[in-house]
Symmetry: C2
DNA sequence: TCCGCATACATTGCCGAGCGATATATTGCC
DNA sequence: GGCAATATATCGCTCGGCAATGTATGCGGA
């Protein structure tokens, strides 16, 4: 018995952050609001979750950051690195595989009384 | 800003166990192997995870159990209750909504170099 | 016969994700 | 002047999942 990467049984927030940065360079607070909107007001990543994730992503070399000093607001801009894009591709594929897997496991529920919501 | 049930950001193992029991009455070890097969050798729920889940599901009233005393092997059979079926329906819908949500968030990745795996 | 493996259930303790709470500082509006 | 929104950061808690461990039985092969 061998199994899938157990990491993605747990959260997919890192994936979402990486994905959001794929849309272009962003700072923390902007990542929060972008994610909130792209998920149609569903995913509300908390500050206490987001910043530690960003620090980790940087430590792993998947993003690089730069402080903005010119304008008034103090902002730290994050950008995907090459290895970050690779990581994103990997994670996205793992996610798709996991979804497909769950689809199979839940397959038999098709016959369940199909009450939506 | 309001958000979805944060529980399913975490694991979906309870959902999988409930779903497996929808296929009929089963004992712990059989749930493990059924899940393993229905997921095509991907989901390997560990004993240290499964049994605490089953105890919790019973405590919540979503399953009921009965010890098998006739045959040699000592087995505890679990069965979905009515409220358990309702719970399963709810959880399955939450899962589908979450998947749809992620699909939207990852939507922009469609243009990413489409290397499979 | 008996050793080892699969079966079968259970509990304890650890790890780590996500979050609430809190802290700090600035901008903009009423 | 005061309050909300913006912006980043850290600490400590909770809880899911799992490795490790314990116990016990049935079965096949050497």
């Amino acid at each position: 018995m061998e199994a899938i990467n157990p990491e993605l049984l747990r959260g997919s927030l890192e994936l979402m952050v990486l994905s959001t940065l794929f849309g272009g360079k962003k700072y923390g607070y902007l990542i929060q609001s972008t994610l909130w909107e792209s998920s149609r007001e569903v995913i509300e990543i908390k500050a206490g979750t987001l910043y530690p994730i960003l620090h980790k992503l940087e430590k792993e070399g998947w993003v690089k950051s730069q402080w903005e000093n010119d304008t008034g607001r103090r902002r730290k801009w994050y950008e995907l690195t090459t290895s970050g894009k690779k990581q994103l591709r990997t994670r996205a594929n793992e996610w798709r595989q996991y979804v497909e897997c769950l689809r199979r496991v839940l397959g038999s529920l098709g016959e369940m009384s199909p009450q939506l919501a």
